[in-house]
Structure formats: C-alpha cells, structure tokens
C-alpha cells in the first residue's frame, strides 16, 4: 500500500509541469509575475480571447487541422496498400525495401528540410500548407507501412483464401475483406499520424512563415527575451496540446505498437 501511495505521489509530481501551464493560461499578468508561485487565484478568461481573436491566432488552429488531416489521409492512402503487400507477398529485396521505409521515418528532419526548402522555393510552394503536408507525409507514410503491416499480419491467411474461393480477386480481397477487418488498427494508425503531424515543429517552421503557420510554429515567436505575455503563450500551448491528449487516450491500446514501429504490441 505504501508503494502504491508513493507511486501516486510521484505521478502527481510528474504531472505538475503540465498542470502549471494550464493554470498559467487562466492567470492574470499580476499572478504570473509574482515572486512566489501562486497556486490559488481567481481565474481570468481574458487570455484565450485576446490571443485567438484579437491577435488573430485562430487561423493557426485551422492550419494545423488542415495539415494534420491531409497528411494523415495521404499517408494512409499510400501506406496501407504497401503494408498489405509487405504482409502477404514475398518478393526479392522485400526486407531491403522495408528498411528503406524505416530510414524515411527515422531521417533527421534537419537534413531533409534544407533541400526540401530549396526545392519548394523553386517550385513556389513555400508558405503554402501543401509544403508541410508533403513534408509530414514523408514520415507518416512509413509509420503507416510499419504499423499496418503488423495489423495485416495478425489476420489469418485462411481468411484471404476463403475470400478468394468466393470469387474475390486479390485486390478485391484486400479492399472488401481485409481492410474492414483491419479497421480498428487503421483508425489507431490514423490518429497517431494526426498527432505526429500536429505536434511537428521543424518542417513546419522552415516551410511556412506567415499565412500558413501551424500552431506549433506560432509558439516560439511569442517568447521574447523581455516581456513575454505568458498568459497568452500558455493559452496557445494548451490549445495545441489538450485535444492531442484526448486523442492519445482514445488509441492508448495501440500506442506502444505505433511508437515502436510494430515491434512491440502493447
């Protein structure tokens, strides 16, 4: 029992930094800048409207949603069929190709974003959401391939065989039989793609500067050496993180699998 109590104490301590930022977003400037930390205060609701309406940060939420949604759709559309092939077919060079997908997921953004920036400038794509959508698709496609391969492999092959006996082609089997069976996995993968794209900073930061800014890109600009308006920045941070935490809890069951590239099933 003592052990359980200690663990719970540790966990509360562990969450304090995040709770502090949520609290700060409801504090007045006076409470935030006070010398001693203020734990009990009269909450103010002025920070959120000020930053999102008066300072026009609302479009950033919209941009983040556009970028995350479209890169998720694109990644699923390209990645799921490939995952099925990896799960069901044998062909020469298969594992090498699979490794290639892994390297695209692991590639350091800083090395890819430089040439991407040069290329997109030439194509006139910078500061448009499409630039970030494509950039995020590079890492999400391979996440889909790795995660979905495992979900397809979990479906017994007998089901394919039965479907083909019933007159489905292989393509038909994939679309009409396996895809519906893998739907829960597909949903979890989609949510994870969405989260990773929503949270991503470096690609978005380099590729869009003004109109196309996402929420994460909007954060550092608000932090200045002198006179950061912490109430407002923390409001942005809370809006950027709370929906994601909610999504996380939805897919908690599949999260370990997703974050270890299908190697460990949670």
């Amino acid at each position: 029992m003592a052990m359980v109590a200690t663990l719970i104490a540790i966990l509360i301590l562990f969450l304090t930094p995040y709770l502090w930022i949520v609290m700060t977003s409801f504090k007045t400037r006076l409470d935030i800048l006070s010398d001693a930390p203020v734990w009990f205060f009269t909450p103010t609701s002025e920070n959120y409207p000020t930053i999102f309406i008066d300072k026009n940060y609302l479009p950033l939420v919209w941009n983040s949603m556009i970028v995350a949604s479209f890169s998720t759709i694109l990644s699923l559309a390209f990645g799921t069929p490939a995952a099925y092939v990896f799960a069901r077919f044998e062909f020469p060079g298969k594992e090498d190709l699979f490794f290639f997908f892994l390297t695209t997921r692991m590639a350091p953004p800083i090395s890819i974003v430089v040439p991407m920036f040069l290329l997109f400038s030439v194509l006139g794509l910078t500061d448009k959401p499409i630039a970030v959508i494509l950039a995020h698709t590079t890492f999400n496609v391979s996440l889909v391939v790795w995660m979905m391969r495992g979900f397809f492999a979990d479906i017994p092959r007998e089901i394919d065989e039965a479907a083909m006996m019933d007159g489905h082609t292989r393509g038909g089997t994939f679309l009409r039989v396996l895809l519906p069976l893998a739907a829960p996995g597909l949903a979890a993968t989609a949510v994870l793609c969405f989260i990773l794209s929503w949270n991503e900073f470096l690609y978005a930061f380099i590729l869009v500067a003004f109109e196309g800014r996402t929420l994460t890109v909007g954060i550092p600009g608000l932090v200045t050496p002198h006179g950061t308006l912490w109430g407002q920045v923390t409001s942005v941070a809370v809006v950027a993180t709370l929906p994601i935490l909610f999504f996380t809890f939805l897919v908690q069951k599949h999260l370990v699998r997703g974050l270890t590239f299908g190697a460990v099933k949670g």
């Binding site: 052990m3 359980v4 663990l7 966990l11 562990f14 930094p17 995040y18 502090w20 935030i32 800048l33 006070s34 010398d35 001693a36 930390p37 390209f78 990645g79 069929p81 490939a82 092939v85 290639f100 892994l102 390297t103 695209t104 692991m106 350091p108 953004p109 800083i110 090395s111 890819i112 430089v114 040439p115 991407m116 040069l118 290329l119 391939v145 495992g150 082609t169 292989r170 393509g171 994939f174 949270n199 991503e200 900073f201 470096l202 380099i206 929420l215 994460t216 954060i219 920045v233 941070a237 950027a240 994601i244 935490l245 809890f249 908690q252 370990v256 974050l259 270890t260 099933k265 949670g266």
Partner: protein
Amino acid sequence: MRTNRIIERVLDHGVAPLLLVPSVVLLFVILLGPFLFMVWTGFTDLHYALPNRDGAFVGFDNFRRLMQDDPIFWHSFWLTMKFVFGVVLVEFAFGLGLALLIFHYIKNHRFILTILLVPMMLAPIAVGLIWKLLLSGDFGMFTYYLRAIGLADLQTSILGNPSLVMPAIMLIDVWQWTPFVTLVILAGLLSLPKEPFEAAIMDGARPLQIFKDVTLPLLRPIIALVLLLRGIDAFKEFDKVFILTGGGPGISTEMLSIYTYRINFRDWDLGYGAVCAFMVYLVVLIMCSVFYKAVYWNEGRSKMAGKAAA
C-alpha cells in the same frame, strides 16, 4: 468484356506492384529527390547572403572544411553524443525501475499508464515552453523552489548558466521520455512467458537472481529496441533546445541540429550547411541500420512480433 478480363487479371496477379509502387514513388520523389539535391549542394559554394556565391562546383572543399577547420561542428557533435548517451542511460534506468515497480505492485495499471503518456504526447515545442516558464530566473516556479531549498543561488537563472543549462535540458528530456521506456518495457514484461519464472521459483532462486538470470535475458530484444529508438530520437533533438535556449548561452547548448539550422537558415551558407546536414543524416542512418539488424534481422520479424504479443 475483354477489358474486364484484363482488369481482373491485373487485380489478381499484378496487385502487389500496383499497391506497392505508389508509396515507393511518393517517397522517392519527396524524400530521395531533396536528399540527392542536398548531396549535390554539398559540392557547391551556394550561399544566400554573400555575393558571387551562386552554387559553383567546389569539389570536396566543404567536406575538407568540416573535417579540418570547423571546431564548432565537432563541439556540437560531441555535445550531441554526450546528450544522447546521458539521456538514454538515465531514461533506461528510471524507465526500467518504474516498469518493474508497476509490474509488481499495481494490478490495474491503465490509469497510471494514462498519466505517464502525457509528457511524451505533448508537442515537443510545448514541452520546451513549459520548462522555459518553470525555469525562468525571475518568476519560474521551479527556480523559486530550488532557491527555497538552497540549490540555486539568487543570481542565476538556470538556462543562462553555461554549466547548468545542459544538465537541465537533459533532465527535461528525461521527464519527457522516461515514460516511453516504461511503457515499452512494461509491455515486454507483460508478454513474457510464465514457465521460466515458475521453474526458477521451484529451483529456489531469489528475486534478484530471477531478475538477473531470467527476466533480463528474456527482455533483451525489447531493451535493445527501446535504447536504439530513444538514441535515434535523442540525436535528432531540436525543438526543445530551440525554444529553451536557441543554442545559447554562447554555444553551450548548440547541438548538431541547432548548429545545422544556424549554418543554413541564419548564416544562409547552404553549400556548407548541406554537408553538415549530410553528416547528421549519416549518423542516424548508421544507428538506424543497427536498430534494424538488432531488432528485426536476427530475430526474424514475425517471430519477434509473436513473442511480444500480449
């Protein structure tokens, strides 16, 4: 009628390439294209801020500069290495300990896991922001309590002190990512077969002995996996440092990603920047192939997945 037959045959026999090729082409175009472009840029003198530097071929000049004339790059390199080894070791030790505690003492761990997930699922830029506020020299909550217990004197702000700032960033990374290690190891512990443990208990082995001789060897693949994944991720660290210190004070937190960013997007020295970016890529690629060999190649993917299945 005939076209129908052809479509049917394609859907039956040609389906593998049909489904696989689009994703490969997509990645080649949006990833390998820019990558090759970067390699090419590394052989030129492209510079956006200086006149007459419009991308003439200069051979291996940039590589020579990197190897011989750039102490800051190597400072960043070793700083990054220390960061990677430091955080991975600490996160592993804490993560393993916490996973064992939860495994042995908590029956229903769903609630605890939910809480543990929070820091690792926050946008890294938000994590940086949180700690920037907490560690602020004037009104930071953490700074206040550190001073109250006498651990920091009144003058210093932790993020402005060259000898404290790097350990602070490492601790922040530990806060953010220890739960990941815990989650993965816990999933591994839950998936271990019961028989070896029962046999060891029958033989009268003590708990510590069981842990050393049964648990650890069985967990080895999972441990390798989690160490490598964290290592690769830590090597790429950018977001938190960018918002916390931007590489400062001076260059005391200028890790490789930050340095490469500065060369490319502050100095606009794109030819040389491409070489720096290439080096970062190379290190990650090496770590990545070790990861792949360690976790998938030897074990055989399906066997591994089957063993880890809960």
